[in-house]
Amino acid sequence: MHWTAIIVFLLLFGGVTVMGFLAAHWRRGDLDQLNEWGLAGRRLGTIVIWFLLGGDIYTAYTFIAVPALVFGAGAIGFFALPYTIIVYPLVFLILPRMWSVAHKHNYITAGDFVEGRFGNKWLALAVAITGLVATMPYIALQLVGIQVVIGAMGIGTVGFIGDLPLIIAFVILAAFTYTSGLRAPAMIAIVKDTLIYITVFAMVIVIPIELGGYAKLFAMIPPEKLLLTPPTGTSLGQFSAYATLALGSAFALFLYPHTVTGVFSSSSRNVIRRNAAYLPAYSFLLGLLALTGFMALAVGVDKLPEFAPQFAQYKSNFAVPALILHSFPDWFAGVAFAAIAIGGLVPAAIMSIAASNLYTRNIYVKFFRPDCTPKEEAQNAKIISLVVKFGALVFIIFLPLQYAIQLQLLGGIWISQTIPSVIVGLYTRWFNPWALIVGWGAGLVSGTWMVASLGFQSAVFPLAIDGLTVPGYAALYALAINFAVSIVLTPLLNLVHMTRGTDETEATDYQFDQPVTETRAPAA
């Protein structure tokens, strides 16, 4: 038991809990409105959004899984860096359009937009269900991050007593999300990200010094892990996998409901644009963090006898916690573990809010209670956020961890299939909504089939084209099928006029901006 670490951890965690409840009073709004509870009143400025989206995108699971992948598989795990770089030009170009149309029409979810744009509630349902299904395992994986650091502090995580710390953490999370809505994670994200920055910078400065410098560190890595496998005559090796994983993940990122929620809560288009330039600071951090996977490899943490039991339980996910325990005094390990655990709470809260927004807006109100009041709507969302988190908790406690990881893998592929409706929909409504539904289905089935054919172990599908194997991210291959089906079916289905639906948006809605900017009003 690492008592010092546990005490520091509890102090930080406790402080953040208090903050979560106090957040209800921050920039006070009527929390009986979904707009206020679920989007913090759409009033968040550049700095808060920077922390919120940073806390949202770079989750506890990211901080555990990316170094773990580099630790286990080497250079390929580094794809997280190009992925989180090229995502920002996309954010800069595409998301202001999404923000504008959402602000103009009071859309709270991507499903709301799709319904307004295509006039088809079934397409909106498809988008909403995809978002829900992709988010659930993601929430569950945040718990894994929390579980691993609890295990690292020497608290057993086997049996009911072992699950207790996790249950307590989640009850706290559920309670403050219920009372404060999106304001809670927005406020906590500021603490969380500060702690994460401190931890990562400490790691990338202190550990290489202990190892004798970066040159020594890289020299200790086996050559086959240092670079990607180059193409041969019959296969493109890891090159195509690396590039397609980066590109596909970048497109998928802002389709995830929790990202959409963060974007919609911004106070203006410029908040998003500025953040596209400043959020890459987190990508730099993520790259550094990926390097800690190599540090764990160089130290050989998996061979240290004191970590043997935890490695048996958590496998390479234990690489970073082990490295922290090995390299730092106990009190700092407490700070680092609190950073990771709180790093799980923030995205888990946003994800559960996003999921309940989706369920409430695009399923419950639309299909079951079309005449419900705004207050009932918000109340329903609050309750659903509890259900969603409870589901994630049950998932982690009763099912093997492998299921959550595989589902999250599939989630990325599934969510990518909403690109034609959501992203392309921001630019054109050329597609027939029913064609989009069929294309979406074709993408889901083919993508799932590809991953199933790999035994649910990998999302990199070895596509064979004329004797050449092109290993690539299954999400993109499935998306190609999705697009093909949607394009072919659109002219055919357009023959039946009633399938078209009506568009409630206008071209100018996509450029809409707040009349008053949130910061720095022009001096003149």
Binding site: I86, P89, A215, A243, L247, R273, P280, A281
Partner: protein, 69 residues
């Protein structure tokens, strides 16, 4: 800056093309899958990609300025 918030800015779209560069630089893996040249022992593969964090951020700032806030 004064009138740019209301009128759609035609012609400024060309600046957006700058944002294509990071995609080419990072998605064409043969550009950077090598150890040499190293910078103080850090292989090219790693420092090159880190460098693009800053270049991309800089490009976005340039495009943002040129498009007008």
């Amino acid at each position: 800056m004064s009138d740019s918030s209301t009128s759609p800015r035609r012609g400024s779209k060309l600046w957006n093309l700058l944002l294509v560069i990071p995609f080419v630089a990072l998605l064409w893996v043969p550009f950077y899958n090598s150890i040499e040249p190293t910078i103080s022992g850090i292989p090219f593969f790693y420092w090159y990609q880190f460098l693009w964090v800053f270049i991309t951020s800089g490009l976005i700032i340039v495009v943002h300025r040129k498009n007008g806030e």
